[in-house]
Symmetry: C2
DNA sequence: GTCTATATTTCGATAGAC
DNA sequence: GTCTATCGAAATATAGAC
C-alpha cells in the first residue's frame, strides 16, 4: 500500500505539482480516504521526502565512482563516461527526474528538514560540489552544467514536442549531442 | 506601485515558489496590507500572468524573425544565430527565466486561463512548434531542445555552484558550448 | 488499516470606511 | 489607494470508532 501511495503521488505531483495536489486527491485516486494516508505517512512532506530519497539512490552509485577518483582533473575526465552510463538510468526514471525539475521549490523547503541533511549525502550536493570545484577550468564546469540541463530538457520535452521520437532513438541523439557538448572541438566558430 | 508589487512578487516567487508565497507576505515586504494588492490586481493569478507576459515580450521579436522564414530547414539553420543573440537577452532577465523554470506547474494552471490563449501567441508555443516540426531531422530537434535546457541550467546554476564565474565569462562559455552542441561535428565518437 | 468526523490553520477574496 | 474586518473555502492533520 505504501508503494501504491508513492506511485499515485508521483503521478499527481507531476501532473499538477506538489503544492496543488491535495491528500484528498491522492486518497480518491486510491479509492481510500484521506485519513488512511496518515497511517502510512505522518505528514504530506514525508511522501515527497521518500520520493526524493529514491532519486538519491538512483545516482549514488555513479557519483560514488566519481568521488573515489583522486584528482579533480581525473574526475572531470571521467565525467563523460559516467554521464553516458547515467543517461540510460535517467531516462529509465524520467518521472522521478521530472518531479524534481518541476518542483524545485517544494524540495528546497524540504532541504531545511531534519532527516534530509542528517543521514546521507545528497546526490545534488555531490553534483553541486563537482560543479563548484575551482580546480576544474571554468569552461569545463559550464559544459558540465549545460550537459545536465540538456539531458533534463530532452527528458522533459519527450513528453511534449519530442513525443513522436522513439525513446531509444532520442537517447542515442542525446548521447551523441552530450558528447559533442562535453568535448570542445576547437572548431573555428568565427565563421567566414 | 504596480511595478513594485511585480518586483517583490518575482523575488518571493523565485525564493519560495508561487504556491507557497501568500499575498500576505508580498504585502508585508511592501509595507502595506493584503487588501491593498487587490486594488492593483484582481486576483493572485494576475500577478503571475503579468510576469508571464513580460517573458513573452522578451522573446517575441527573436521568434518572429524565425517564423518569417519560409522553409523549416531555413528556420533550423537560422536557429544558431538567433539563439546566440538570444542568450544575452536571457541572461539579462535571468530572474524571469528562473521564475518559469521553477514554477512550471503554476504557469500550466494559468495556461487554461482566458486571456492567455486569447490575445497573443505564446513564446513557449512557438518554441514547442519548432521543436515538434517533423520536417526537421530528429537529431537536430533534440539538439535544439538540449540547447535550451543547457542555457537554462547555466543560468540557474549561476546562482549556485557556478556563482564564482563572472557573468560575462559564463555567457561566453555558454555561447561556445551551445555552438558545439548545435553543430554536429562528425567526430568519431566510437573512440579507439 | 481504514473509516467518520472534526479540529486548526491559512489562504484568497470581498465589503465598506477613510 | 490603503485601511480594518471578515467571509468562505480548502488544506493539513488529529481523535477515536470499527
Amino acid at each position: 500500500m505504501r508503494e501504491r501511495i508513492l506511485d499515485v503521488s508521483l503521478e499527481l505531483f507531476n501532473e499538477q505539482g506538489y503544492d496543488k495536489t491535495s491528500l484528498r486527491e491522492i486518497a480518491e485516486r486510491l479509492g481510500v480516504t484521506k485519513a488512511a494516508l496518515y497511517y502510512h505517512f505522518e505528514r504530506k512532506e514525508d511522501i515527497l521526502l521518500e520520493l526524493h530519497l529514491r532519486m538519491h539512490a538512483l545516482g549514488a552509485d555513479a557519483l560514488r565512482e566519481l568521488n573515489e577518483l583522486d584528482t579533480a582533473q581525473a574526475r572531470a575526465d571521467a565525467w563523460p563516461r559516467v554521464l553516458d552510463a547515467f543517461i540510460d538510468q535517467l531516462f529509465a526514471n524520467a518521472d522521478l527526474l521530472l518531479l524534481h525539475a518541476r518542483n524545485q521549490n517544494a524540495f528546497r523547503a524540504i532541504g531545511d528538514d531534519e532527516r534530509h541533511h542528517a543521514a546521507n549525502e545528497d546526490i545534488q550536493e555531490q553534483a553541486a560540489r563537482l560543479l563548484a570545484n575551482r580546480e576544474i577550468p571554468a569552461a569545463q564546469r559550464v559544459r558540465l552544467a549545460c550537459s545536465l540541463g540538456a539531458i533534463l530538457a530532452a527528458i522533459g520535452l519527450h513528453g511534449g514536442p519530442l513525443a513522436d521520437i522513439p525513446q531509444a532513438e532520442l537517447i542515442e541523439h542525446v548521447r551523441v549531442a552530450i558528447r559533442d557538448l562535453l568535448t570542445p572541438d576547437g572548431k573555428d566558430h568565427t565563421a567566414a
